[in-house]
């Protein structure tokens, strides 16, 4: 959690242009809905999310546990259980992943779009060597490549993720590597197909604090190098500040605020974002995370009004009756709050 201190200062000191409007979108998600259908009711984990990520751009998605961040990433890459209902559009370089055949979609996986998971301890197959797992991935995405070429590519990838003596590491099993090394291998695998978009689900959470910072830096570097769009889900606002051009805040399956990293993290316009930042700052000060009071609503039955109303200090009567509208608070910065651009934004 050391990376969370001084979020605002660091964000402000960072000068990063808002280039999303000029570059072509490599990933465009429109009105994404993900509903886990079960016998005991349906869970709407993602409830109409839209965003675009340009090539080379980074979107960080923050939000409490259970807000649907992982469900969103899984829906995009397509590894949810078969019974899951998914609606909307997921456009990769203009082509809708949801309208593709199963086969084409599988082919896109890993090659056009890839994913890095939270826990490198369990993300790699324990009984295959690093070499086999990497070569297998490379061969999947480069048809007809020879074993020798695939192997030298694997070494190249390990070099790219800054693993020392990559030739020797190829022979290792995951259990023989440290957590940081494993996450580097996972990242190497994610870029093996030169994807246009990389999804990362809390890629540093499971790592040692000292290793976290290095992996974040590596991520930034790699993502620039392969010029891919990156969607990174994180609890850590410091990670978001360091990596992202844009930050989206997710609550109960919806984005409730979206804007440039600087805008969202320094001048939040949604009470929930404020709460998240407060919790993070306090966590940094007394080293004890303090959550926003109350709990998120059940995703099985969402309230009629603003989903945050039961926990919101600013809530007024109107908040309970109808869903909060989207309000622009600045250029490329909006908030799903009745009071946005009003007194609610105190910063």
């Amino acid at each position: 959690m050391s990376t969370t201190t001084g979020v605002r200062e660091r964000v402000e000191s960072m000068s990063r242009g808002d280039s999303s409007s000029e570059t072509m979108a490599s990933l465009e998600v429109r009105d994404l809905i993900t509903e886990f259908r079960g016998r005991r009711g349906h869970v709407r984990a993602v409830n109409g999310v839209s965003f675009t990520v340009p090539r080379g751009g980074v979107l960080a998605v923050i939000g409490e546990s259970g807000s649907g961040k992982s469900a969103m990433l899984r829906s995009i890459i397509g590894i949810n259980p078969p019974s899951t209902l998914i609606e909307g559009n997921i456009l990769l370089q203009g082509k809708d992943l949801l309208k593709m055949s199963q086969r084409d979609r599988r082919r896109a996986r890993g090659r056009d779009i890839s994913m890095v998971f939270q826990d490198p301890l369990t993300a790699l197959d324990p009984v295959y060597t690093v070499e086999r797992q990497l070569v297998e991935t490379i061969k999947k995405h480069h048809e007809g490549i020879s074993n020798a070429d695939a192997r030298s590519r694997a070494i190249g990838l390990l070099e790219l993720v800054q693993i020392p003596s990559p030739g020797a590491r190829l022979k290792a099993y995951p259990s023989e590597l440290s957590g940081g090394m494993r996450q580097r291998v996972v990242i190497a695998m994610a870029i093996a197909g030169r994807p246009q978009v990389i999804l990362a689900d809390e890629p540093t959470t499971a790592l040692d604090v000292t290793v976290q910072a290095r992996i974040v830096r590596l991520f930034r570097q790699i993502q620039r190098e392969v010029d891919a769009g990156l969607v990174v889900v994180t609890h850590d606002l410091g990670v978001a500040a360091e990596l992202a051009d844009e930050v989206a805040v997710m609550y109960a399956g919806r984005f409730v605020e979206h804007g440039s990293a600087t805008q969202v993290l320094t001048t939040p316009s949604h009470p929930y974002t404020e709460g998240l930042i407060e919790a993070n700052v306090r966590a940094g000060q007394d080293r004890r995370p303090r959550a926003i009071p109350g709990a998120p609503p059940s995703l099985k039955r969402l309230p009629a009004g603003c989903a945050f109303a039961p926990r919101c200090a600013y809530a007024i009567a109107d908040c309970w009756s109808a869903p909060a509208p989207i309000r622009d608070t600045a250029t490329h910065h909006w908030s799903r709050c009745l009071l946005a651009s009003n007194a609610a934004t105190s910063s």
């Binding site: 590894i79 890993g110 324990p126 009984v127």
Partner: protein
């Protein structure tokens, strides 16, 4: 890998020595001693002592053990007075018969078990899964001798489709296969059931592991994903298969007796009932040896497929 194999073989040696000591003591401690058949009923104590002396039975135990071991290693396990045959000859013949039965039962049971377990594990919660679970539970709970009796009364008694017993290898391949069907069916059932259960459990377990998502996310086909899953789930299957093969090679006393199959189980059974201790001793030694060797092979195989096992040993 080779060093690990050598280490495992080295570990097996003390086990084998221990087994041989126990088997040796078995004969010397139990009543109805080895000389019993050689001494006339009306012998005087002096005559008895003389015979014991000439057989070396009055030497200290360690001396007798070493003498016995040397003979055993040279393939001489004694002479069965009851059967009027060399024990080694009896064992070779019985073990050969049991081996045929065990090998066919093991291959069939393990293959079917793997297949059923795989199908059930990858289709968890479906009708197929439930049917396999019930069948394998039944296979585990119904004793194989009971299955043997049922099969015998239906297919050999009522329908007369298969012979009711005996290994008839010298009457041509068809007769041999026919004579194998019923004993194999009852012998392989438990193996199949255990293998199916362990395979299913392993596959269900591995399928929920995080790395399976990584495999899917990197674009592997379902078949490729399942190859990974099977490789991960195979270790416990190997362990139980080893135990099953060991048990089958030991000879199932009940199944072999019911089908009059002249294997280790039947040999041991008749030897015990006629207090033929040299044969009991020899058979016990061979069965123990079989178990040790099977376990050794399983250990080495396991290390070959699973680096986690290798790490734990090395």
């Amino acid at each position: 890998m080779l060093r690990l194999a050598a280490r495992r073989v080295g570990l097996a040696v003390p086990i084998l020595v221990g087994v041989s000591i126990i088997v040796f003591l078995l004969m010397t401690i139990l009543p109805g001693n080895a000389e019993a058949g050689l001494v006339p009923e009306d012998a005087t104590p002096a005559q008895r002592a003389a015979i014991r002396d000439s057989l070396g039975l009055n030497d200290p135990l360690p001396v007798r053990y070493v003498a016995w071991l040397v003979e055993a290693l040279r393939g001489d396990l004694g002479y069965s007075l009851q059967r009027r045959r060399e024990v080694a000859d009896l064992l070779v013949q019985a073990w050969g018969n049991t081996f045929v039965l065990a090998a066919v039962s093991a291959v069939l049971g393990i293959t079917l078990g793997l297949l059923l377990g795989y199908v059930a594990g990858t289709r968890r919660g479906t009708l197929v899964d439930r049917v396999v679970s019930i069948v394998s539970l039944a296979g585990l709970s119904v004793p194989s001798f009971f299955v043997a009796i049922i099969l015998l009364s239906i297919f050999a008694g009522g329908l007369k489709m298969f012979p009711s017993g005996g290994a008839t290898f010298d009457e041509g391949p068809i007769a041999a296969i026919r004579s194998l069907v019923l004993p194999v069916a009852s012998g392989s059932l438990i193996t199949m059931a255990i293998t199916a259960r362990v395979t299913r459990a392993g596959i269900v377990d591995v399928l929920s592991a995080d790395f399976v998502e990584t495999l899917r996310a990197k674009g592997l086909s379902e078949l490729e994903v399942r190859t990974h899953v099977l490789r991960n789930a195979i270790s416990p299957v190997l362990t139980t298969s080893g135990v099953q093969i060991g048990a089958l090679l030991g000879g199932s006393v009940l199944v072999e007796t019911i089908f009059r199959w002249p294997g280790m189980g039947q040999l041991l059974y008749t030897a015990i009932s006629s207090r033929d201790l040299v044969v009991v001793q020899g058979a016990t030694l061979v069965i123990a040896l079989t178990f040790v060797i099977i376990n050794l092979m399983v250990d080495i195989l396991q290390a070959a497929v699973d680096p986690r096992v290798r790490g734990a040993v090395a």
